[in-house]
Point group: C2
DNA sequence: ATAAAATTTTAACGGTCGTTAAAAACCGCT
DNA sequence: AGCGGTTTTTAACGACCGTTAAAATTTTAT
């Protein structure tokens, strides 16, 4: 079943594998995918290698054949999902410069929600592991979560023509992203407070309205260059 | 050491104990206090009965003598801390009606921060357990976390003379409390993003500035009765 | 076809978990 | 002093955890 090509002329014995075509990288991918699923349902400490193995349809020690430790697997998962989220975040700003604040923000939020609906796991993983034990027991790859936030702030400052002091922009983006991660990463909590279903259009509508209500005045303010208090 | 009173006339043998004076209720209290400490450092699943026993200076099975299960202990902890937080939240509004939005909000935040510094554990516990596994494995006492949010929204609506539509008030308080719980309950995360220490005056200053920046415009708006979008 | 190598499964280790049962210690009382 | 009841400790159970080692299987190369 596996593709093996011999060079016609030389008969070289080196198998030419397409990247990701051999069994090895396939199960490795399956493991990462299963891990993403499990880590989006349980925080790092509560998720277990055995859950991930079951989700991937393999025996759990096989995971240690591909990843030395649970921590290493989690770090790869974090790297993957934070990168996906970061790249997506950049794309949501495309073409927004030409628009006025209202429609710009609306479009941004629509793109954001569209992504969150199609790929809920990254946000869940981030939200689940963001608040963690202080002091000794730091979660593996925790720095990646922090740098994600920092990078998203930078993206925001580069992508929007805000004129206010850097302080205000930092506050705006931090507040905005904090709310976003909570509402979309911990939707089950906030939705049920509001008496709604986490994935219902009503809830998303509320989130959009709520975040617009919160951010739009400040956005206008900063676009005018009056970002101070 | 135990206070026992016999009714002079009948000689009844029922012991009349002052609440909290006998050894039993003392260790019970110690257990709850130790549990609050541990549950403020680790989320429900990661905290263990053994940690709590060690923190309380007792052998861990003694906990099961006072509480049938870990879940029951956690529920009592949640009931305690959410109530403390709820009552405190009410007190922060006292005398604010007479003030203009700026000084009112400033005073409210000062009271809030003062509380958070003196009693960091309730906010930590709330923040640590708010985002949790969806579906099957719900955390014991989770409903209490939700009702806390609902009750704080009601408090806000009663305590402030806001004129806007109920929707806007709900959005404002939800956003506000969400930010508060994150910034003060998960300070280690946000502070280090900003390059500050979680308990430093600088960080608290940033939080105050940031939340004022976010909320003040909307507050003015709602006090004028123009809360719609 | 056969040997070598890579992949997967099986079994098991030491450890921590929540909980239970029995023994031990402590208490107030006659 | 000795008894009855309460509180605390000790020991242990079964379950799950991450990880390791070896056996079994499958794939690759000659």
């Amino acid at each position: 079943m596996k593709k093996v090509e011999k060079t016609k002329i030389t008969g070289k014995k080196t198998a030419v594998k397409k990247a990701g075509s051999c069994r090895k990288t396939e199960t490795r991918k399956a493991i990462v995918e299963a891990a993403i699923k499990v880590f989006s349902d349980y925080p790092y400490d509560s998720a277990s290698i055995r859950m991930i193995g079951k989700e991937a349809g393999i025996e759990h020690p096989l995971i240690n054949y591909y990843f030395p430790t649970k921590a290493a697997l989690f770090e790869e998962v974090l790297e993957t999902v934070t990168d996906v989220y970061y790249q997506a975040n950049i794309s949501w700003f495309e073409g927004l410069e030409a628009l006025d604040p209202e429609t710009g923000l609306s479009l941004y939020l629509d793109r954001f929600f569209d992504f969150a609906l199609k790929h809920p796991k990254p946000l869940r993983i981030i939200a689940l592991n963001l608040v963690q034990a202080k002091g000794q027991d730091i979660i593996p790859g925790y720095l990646r979560l922090q740098s994600l936030f920092t990078k998203m702030t930078r993206t925001f400052m580069i992508a929007t023509p805000l004129q206010g002091p850097q302080n205000s922009i930092e506050m705006l983006t931090t507040n905005f992203n904090t709310l976003a991660i909570n509402y979309l990463g911990a939707g089950a909590y906030y939705a049920s407070i509001l008496g709604l279903a986490p994935d219902s259009p009503e809830y998303l509508k509320w989130v959009k309205k709520s975040m617009t209500f919160m951010v739009l005045p400040l956005l206008k303010q900063l676009l005018d260059g009056r970002g101070d208090l």
